[in-house]
């Protein structure tokens, strides 16, 4: 199934002048990211991953090359168009949480909607919905100083999600958190990615999270050293194995499901039964059984990742 990338990066470069020498923060970056993917950009600090994110988020201009978001070139956008892109098409999660200190969680979350001119009532409702989705409704009226780091990060994730963006960028979201909170935040991002099918670009230097990603992009010294390849393959095998958990689904059927774009439990759980039955090796009866099973597995997973 031929899909169009949501983000296409062509020969992207970012060079900084530092006195007489030029620092090549990013060089010859070519990349395609597809809708719904959870991508991890992995590398040591200084490898250019934050620079890449700034460019993709339209916060900075590349030295050369192009970034096409759904076919639109970011370089051709005016400052106002970039602002609109940032508040409607993307969401951002930062290492420092970056909540506005004197505002409540609710006001922070509704801020992008405020910039977009949404009415106060509607954005309060949206913000509350997102808080509930994330399972931290009780934080609604707290300000940043009244929340732990993990809580602040969850609120900032809610802020990124509130506009239903195409892509969410998360730059080292666990960098300032203890391991328990970090774990919660990462699982939250993963869950939201699966549930809402939003594309997520996660920047990290923590190899523990690599298994969560659909694809991993390895950056080193401003260049992509490995992209998808084996990683994508490994991920595919893992997903297929996941589908093999379903009763009556053997390795062959799992392959067929994957080929028909049912890549994980969520895809099966949210599939149309009739469509599912069209996959080779899946009977109509079996389709409804595995769908129900996938749904209960998903529910168990979501419950597991819900706030204790």
């Amino acid at each position: 199934m031929a899909r169009k990338p949501i983000i296409k990066v062509v020969n992207l470069a970012k060079h900084y002048k530092m006195g007489p020498s030029t620092v090549r923060a990013l060089d010859k970056i070519n990349l395609e990211i597809y809708s719904g993917e959870l991508i991890i950009i992995f590398g040591q600090s200084g490898c250019g991953k934050s620079t890449l994110m700034s460019l993709l988020a339209g916060l900075d201009k590349p030295t050369s090359g192009e970034i096409l978001v759904r076919g639109e070139n970011l370089s051709n956008m005016s400052a106002n168009q970039l602002s609109k892109y940032r508040r409607t098409k993307i969401g951002m999660v930062f290492q420092q949480y970056n909540l506005i200190p004197n505002m409540t969680a609710l006001d922070n979350i509704s801020l992008p909607l405020a910039f977009d001119g949404t009415s106060r009532r509607r954005r309060a409702k949206r913000a509350r919905n997102v808080l509930e989705l994330i399972g931290v409704s009780k934080l609604a009226e707290r300000t940043a100083s009244e929340m732990s780091g993990g809580q602040q990060q969850k609120v900032s994730i809610a802020r990124a999600w509130v506009t239903s963006p195409w892509i969410v960028f998360a730059d080292e979201p666990t960098g300032n958190l203890d391991s328990k909170s970090a774990d919660e935040v990462i699982r939250l991002i993963k869950r939201l990615n699966e549930k809402s099918k939003r594309t997520v670009l996660l920047i990290t230097h923590n190899p523990e999270y690599l298994s969560l990603a659909d694809r991993v992009i390895y950056l080193k010294d401003g260049k992509i050293v490995r992209i998808s390849g084996q990683i994508k393959g490994a991920s595919r095998r893992q997903k297929r194995n996941e589908l093999e958990q379903l009763s009556g689904v053997g390795r062959g059927v799992a392959e067929n499901l994957f080929a028909a774009n049912y890549r994980n439990m969520l895809d099966v759980a949210s599939a149309d039964t009739d469509e599912l039955a069209k996959v080779k090796g899946v009977t109509k009866n079996m389709a409804s059984v595995i769908k129900k099973e996938a749904q209960s597995i998903m529910m168990a997973r979501e419950g597991f990742s819900e706030e204790e």
């Binding site: 700034s54 940032r86 508040r87 930062f94 970056n98 506005i100 405020a114 506009t163």
Partner: protein, 399 residues
């Protein structure tokens, strides 16, 4: 962003550093209070002077003087003057010399023949007895000075008594002739009132009493208009007829010009204080900009436009201006009120007349607040522009 959001956001940010906001607002309060206080003094003094010159009634009067040889105030012309649109009544007046015989006494007086309605307007009031009311009655009002020869205490008894006037006419050169050629020159009148405020020895009689004397032209004519608004039009028409028209308004506008100049000087003194306050606003907004650079970066990263950020800052400056203007007006106004009160209580202690020294017209109050708003917004423009232009990435990295 909606205007309501901008307003609420600006209130929230101003609340974050209450002390600094209050001090900045206080600067504007002092500036506006100084302006309001000083200019109110100007307004008050102006009103005081104008009030002394003219009662409200007189503002609707036009004095018509002849311009010989062409424009003479003949009866025919006076009727024409009375027909001008907006004229309520006309009062031709004529002055003569006369001898008043009262009992055994003879007194030389100046005789003013006029329309009784004009008495009121001229502010000649009978303090004892009553004013002239009927244009046809053979009644007179006598000034107290004319009665000096009598015991003042007797003034009351004089009301109702009959006096004989020997009226001396003017010749062609305007000199009085002491000859009595016409029996109509001696007439009997009833004294109906005595006027205290008139300095000269004078007697007022209804102009109709002179009809028999066949006076051809009058000295001047007073026109009363229906309202203050038509004075200008009526004046123009009178001038077009060839007469000289003047009104107390001319004098008042002259005085107003002087006071306007005085108010501007007083206002400028107050403005110096406001100028200092505007530097305070500039300072506060610039510090606020530096403090919030990181925050501005966040806002831009999550989608605020340059315009959003710029307007947020401008709204903050405007808020400072508005509240500074509002409270400055209140303080300046209360200070004036306080001094009015003090002056009046002092005046009443020494049996003086209570006067309003400070006056703050509503339109000036509105201008004061508007002015504070404008100055503040102006002081906020540069910091707001800087905030708007901040690059999101540099701003967000700024700690």
């Amino acid at each position: 962003m909606t205007l309501l959001d901008l307003l609420l956001f600006s209130i929230a940010s101003l609340k974050r550093n209450k002390m600094r906001t209050l001090l900045t607002v206080a600067g504007v309060v002092i500036g506006i209070a100084a302006i309001v206080f000083l200019v109110s003094l100007g307004f008050g003094l102006q009103e005081l002077v104008i009030e002394k010159i003219a009662s409200m009634k007189e503002l609707t009067q036009i004095q018509v003087d002849p311009k010989p040889p062409a424009a003479k105030l003949t009866k025919k012309n006076i009727i024409r003057l009375g027909r001008i649109e907006g004229v309520k009544w006309v009062s031709p007046s004529y002055y003569l010399s006369a001898q008043m015989l009262l009992g055994d006494e003879q007194i030389d007086v100046t005789l003013y023949a006029l329309n009784p309605k004009y008495m009121e307007a001229e502010d000649v009031k009978a303090d004892v007895g009553k004013n002239l009311h009927s244009p046809d009655a053979q009644e007179i009002i006598v000034s107290r000075n004319a009665l000096k020869v009598f015991d003042l205490l007797e003034a009351k008894n004089l009301v109702g008594r009959e006096a004989t006037l020997r009226i001396y006419l003017r010749d062609k050169n305007g000199n009085f002739s002491l000859k009595i050629d016409d029996p109509n020159q001696i007439q009997k009148f009833k004294i109906v009132g005595i006027a205290k405020n008139v300095k000269e020895s004078s007697v007022y009689i209804p102009v109709k009493s002179l009809d028999a004397l066949k006076i051809k032209t009058f000295d001047k004519v007073m026109l009363k208009t229906t309202s203050r608004e038509v004075v200008k039009d009526v004046k123009k028409e009178v001038s077009d007829m060839g007469f000289k028209a003047s009104s107390i308004r001319d004098t008042i506008s002259e005085i107003q010009r002087y006071f306007r100049a005085a108010q501007i000087v007083l206002g400028i003194l107050g403005m110096i204080a406001l100028l200092v306050a505007s530097i305070g606003i500039f300072n506060t907004m610039t510090i606020s900009l530096l403090e919030r650079t990181h925050e501005i970066g966040i806002m831009k990263a999550i989608g605020a436009t340059n315009k959003d950020v710029r307007r947020m800052f401008l709204f903050e400056a405007a808020q400072i201006g508005f509240w500074g203007g509002f409270w400055g007006l209140a303080v300046g106004w209360l200070m004036g009120l306080g001094i009015n009160f003090l002056a009046n209580s002092l005046a009443s202690k020494f049996q003086g007349k209570a006067e309003v020294i400070f006056q703050t017209p509503v339109w000036f109050s509105a201008i004061a607040i508007l002015f504070a708003l404008m100055v503040s917004i102006f002081a906020g423009v540069y910091p707001a522009r800087r905030a708007g232009k901040l690059g999101p990435l540099e701003a967000i990295r700024y700690e």
